[in-house]
């Protein structure tokens, strides 16, 4: 269709080009006609003038021979009379000619109008026909640079939105479309997001929140938005951190809250079919009854839809991989309301493009996920936890490198820095006092025998890497106690918050060998600013978070520090985001991490999926040239 439209455009462009050429082609005839008529007028005028002169010149001679009175009497009218007569005659002739010419001109104007109209129409239809016969070649480029984008056109006028509201009310029922201020604010931004938009800007709030109950309803909603050109943002748990669900161009918010069911559990195939608003914690509670388990473990409160959107992970990623590895297939509603299913339920497949993984991590910019089939694994028979503290981050990181390099299949390995351990002690949320030093938390799982063996190996490695203490859990309760420190990390840093403070959770990842470098440099940098920070890391895969507390005056300071950390990660061949996603905050970092051309290729894909830019517009990649000064210096 887009191609057809493009072709139509081509033909139309041809058509607009033709009037000029038609006029040009037409002009010679018109000009000859005008010259012809002008020359006739001239000729007539000349003829009459010379006739008059001849007449006058003969007249001039006669008066000399006779006396005026005699001549007057004998030869009819006097000279004066003759003069008047000739003038009158001449004027009559001239006005007749003028009239004739005027009449002539009148006639040609009409015919000219007619023929121009005809020519325009004719050339127009011929070029339209030729346009369909020989369409323009599509642009042979594989990428779409920002400079070639055209700003998306949405219609978010009041009348348009109200009409759309009526459509939505018909689809989901009026009870499930909300325009309450509280609802709109809750779907506009969150306190913990590092994106701080302008709350007075009406474009940063949705016009209404729609709560669909099925894939069919989502498809119908998208069809309405597509015809009416309304921007759409998908919303599930709302726990994302980089402004993923903050609207930038008004429009509507689709909240999947009512689509929160587990549709089918195939325990023999180790998979489960769920709707987007299922919470991963609740899912795991249900699965535990069957001895099964779904590994990705992002922030509490997160829902499957958003987890797919950001390609999330957590402490389990070292052993089990990220969300990308645990989704078998997706049902997705596309920008025009088409519903697709990326594949069926086999554990492995090499059939066609991997659309599943393309949608995972696309942050709702390519389609709205309405159903997901998740891979599951068997709950390990035994598990345990160990805690080891070290004199420095570097010593701890060395220990991790050894564990990873030896291939010890630990379930998770996390690092907390000395500041973080101090905050945990201060908050007092755990039942024991911790050494305020860089600390590693290990999780083990497998058979009872295997776990025992792993603990022994790790203990040995830790000792050789300069570990100052090593505790491991001997029972269920001790395990929970040891792991509680890791769990309380974020909340205990929040507990130090002063009135008016905000929290910023930075997230980068680097190749493992550079981890201690970047952590040390980043900590030093933050220390100099005097901001309160703590550090938590999924060190097994080179990913860590810095938690920064700042108030409104310190915003710039924090921003700059985080910016320097991101830059450092890119310079070390790392990534600007390990697991939080790009959203609004990190999109201008992408060209630096990936290269202009790679981002241009992503933009081309975005525009192919969603030519009107309706889906979570402006997130991940820019689709419109930024204003001057909008992009911060690298």
């Amino acid at each position: 269709m887009s191609q057809l439209a493009a072709k139509g455009l081509g033909a139309r462009r041809l058509a607009t080009a033709t009037p000029a050429s038609a006029v040009a082609a037409r002009r010679p005839t018109t000009t000859t006609a005008t010259t012809a008529s002008t020359s006739t007028t001239c000729l007539v005028a000349l003829a009459s003038r010379s006739a008059a002169r001849r007449y006058l010149s003969t007249d001039e001679k006669t008066p000399k021979a006779a006396s005026p009175t005699a001549a007057n009497r004998d030869r009819g009218p006097s000279f004066k009379g003759q003069l008047m007569e000739s003038i009158t005659a001449r004027m009559k002739r001239e006005s007749a000619t003028r009239e004739r010419i005027a009449q002539l001109r009148q006639q040609s104007a009409a015919s000219r109008n007619f023929s121009i109209t005809f020519m325009l129409f004719f050339v127009g239809s011929v070029s339209w026909y030729l346009g369909t016969k020989f369409p323009r070649d599509p642009s042979p480029a594989s990428t779409l640079p920002l400079s070639e984008t055209r700003p998306p056109k949405h219609s978010t006028g009041k009348a348009e939105l109200e009409a759309a509201w009526a459509d939505f009310a018909e689809i989901v029922g009026p009870d499930h479309v909300s325009t309450l201020a509280a609802d709109l604010d809750a779907h506009a931004n969150s306190d913990w997001s590092s994106h701080q938009g302008d709350p007075t800007d009406p474009a940063s709030r949705p016009f209404c929140v729609v709560y669909p109950a099925s894939t069919a309803e989502v498809s119908a909603i998208m069809k309405v938005c597509h015809t009416r050109r309304l921007p759409v943002v998908g919303y599930s748990g709302g726990t994302s951190l980089e402004g993923h669900f903050a609207p930038t161009r008004g429009g509507i918010c689709v909240d999947f809250g009512r689509m929160n069911k587990v549709l089918a559990l195939h325990k023999d195939d180790l998979d489960v079919v769920v709707q987007p608003a299922v919470r991963w914690e609740e899912l795991n509670e249900d699965l535990a009854l069957e001895g099964l388990f779904f590994p990705p473990d992002p922030g509490p409160g997160a829902m499957i839809g958003g987890m797919i959107g950001t390609g999330c992970s957590g402490t389990n990623a070292y052993r089990y991989g990220t969300m990308r590895e645990w989704v078998l297939s997706l049902t997705v509603v596309l920008a025009d309301g088409t519903v697709i299913k990326t594949r069926q339920r086999p554990r492995k497949s090499s059939a066609g493009y991997d659309l599943t993984k393309l949608f995972i991590g696309s942050e709702g910019t390519l389609g709205l996920v309405t159903e997901a089939t998740l891979k599951l694994t068997v709950k390990p028979a035994a598990s345990s936890v160990a805690v080891a503290s070290f004199a420095s981050i570097r010593a701890a990181a060395n220990c991790v490198a050894r564990v990873v390099g030896d291939g010890v299949p630990v379930a998770a390995v996390e690092i907390l820095d000395d500041d973080q351990m101090r905050f945990i002690n201060q908050a007092g949320g755990t039942s024991r006092q911790w050494r305020e030093a860089a600390t590693l938390f290990f999780k083990f799982s497998g058979t009872a025998q295997g776990v025992k063996e792993q603990i022994a190996i790790v203990k040995d490695i830790a000792k050789r890497a300069g570990g100052e203490s090593f505790d491991f859990a001997r029972g269920e309760q001790e395990m929970a106690e040891l792991w509680s420190a890791r769990k309380e990390a974020l909340w205990s840093t929040m507990a130090v918050k002063k009135e008016g403070d905000h929290v910023w959770t930075g997230d980068v990842a680097v190749p493992m060998s550079r981890l201690s470098d970047i952590i040390e440099e980043t900590k030093r940098d933050f220390k100099q600013t005097g901001l309160v920070t703590s550090l938590v890391g999924h060190v097994g895969d080179g990913n860590f978070h810095i938690i920064v507390l700042y108030n409104d005056e310190e915003r710039k300071l924090a921003e700059d520090c985080v910016h320097r950390m991101v830059k450092r990660a890119v310079e070390m061949e790392g990534t600007v985001t390990g697991e939080h996603g790009v959203g609004l905050v990190k999109r201008d970092y992408l060209p630096h991490e990936l290269g202009e051309t790679t981002v241009d290729a992503m933009r081309k894909i975005k525009m192919a999926f969603d030519p009107l830019c309706l889906l979570n517009c402006d997130k991940v990649i820019r689709v419109q040239k930024p204003k001057k000064g909008e992009v911060a210096e690298w």
Binding site: L4, A5, D137, S142, T310, S362, N543, G581, I605
Partner: protein, 486 residues
Amino acid sequence: MGAGPTLKRIDPNLMALAYAIHSQMLQAADQIARAIGQDNVSYDTDVLEHHGHSDWSTSNSPVRAAAVVYPRTTADVSAIARICNALSVPMVPFGAGSSVEGNFSQPHSGICIDFSHMDQIIAFHPDDMDVVVQPGVNWVDLNRHIAHAGLFAPLDPSPTATIGGMVSTNCSGTNAMRYGTMKDWVLNLTVVLADGTVIKTRRRPRKTSAGYNLTSLFVGAEGTLGIVTEATLKLAPIPQDTSVAVVAFGSIRDAAAAASELIRSGIQLAALELMDDVQMRILNEHGSEAVRRRKWEEKPTLFVKFSGTTDGIKSDAARVGEIIRGSAQLHFAKSKQEEQDLWAARKEALFTMVNIRPRGTEIWSTDVAVPVSRLAEIIDLSKRECGQLGIFASVIGHVGDGNFHVAMMYDPRDEEQKRAVARCVHNMMSRALEMEGTVSGEHAIGIGKKDCLVDELGQDTIGLMRTVKRAVDPKWVMNPGKVFDR
């Protein structure tokens, strides 16, 4: 672009997109020769034949490429793409030529790009456990080269396969049960797009959520979206210890049922393979000396591989024994030598089969995957149906992930037999789809399975794939005629 539905299929006749004629292709080859050197372009008919036909494949096309070109750098490939795109000449990348669904044949002729000169290991980062390689690197060579650091790339397709092709078909093998498929082991790719633009999908972090996952999009795209010119692969530590056990069952259904029980037990097996009675008989009759040292029971047999720490293996093996106890007797390798011999039996299977095939017959080898719980049923049904054809037919499978292959030998001159085999394959596909499986577990789509892909995914999903394809390759010059039609 217009406001209408974006994903409707456009009548191909409306698109002014014809490929270049033969003389223009030669002209392109000439321009390429000037860009990358005369020595790196070949018009030799034998070379063209070698790059256009495969004995392994059931989907060869009669058309050959106009020329074969041998780039040495990413810049060379970019120059080739620029020339071909400008002249609308199809480009078909060629790795080792071990694919089986006609993935590298050239139904629209064009230029074949052979990566045998791009076979360097560019950088090895043992501390980060990754390696940067060119597409022409053979995986066996790679693993030999990095073994000293205690690392390996845990993929094991056909021993001749090279990285470029492995990426493009999203290959796997016996290790997939434990380690996953190619997709899980590629950190980033450097790709040349249709118009010659070079992109690198990302840097080297082990995990990231920055932007669209282009890496996974190119893995398994069979060269239809871009040409891979460099790949960074994740590596895994070589397990401290391994062990192998074999167990024979009374029927294929019992064997498959035991396999799915093992999968569901959660024991971290390294591999779980199934060979049927026909395969076992071949081993006894035609196997290599090492394999024939043992008298194999000619019954459906499961091959179980363990890996990990020595103690871990012991406890895993004990649990496997418990699960299987009722139905059959487990035989463990008692020495490293025996372990190798046992596993060699599994590795040799396909080659032995090809070697003993009667003159004039061809092998139709195909693969499907289904959810684990349906595995026993589909293997049983497929085996029975193939058996009725009265020809050589055998089942061999990576049952650990619900994937298995059927190989049938048929006489290509016997039209009726050929039709019967085709029908049998077709039935197997529809059965796999009914069971919510896939028509290709690891061989990809190529030319051979295009129709099946439509059956599996439906027109709308294929329509979206087409949209992706058209976006990055508007002139449809990258390996045309594969995966799906325009």
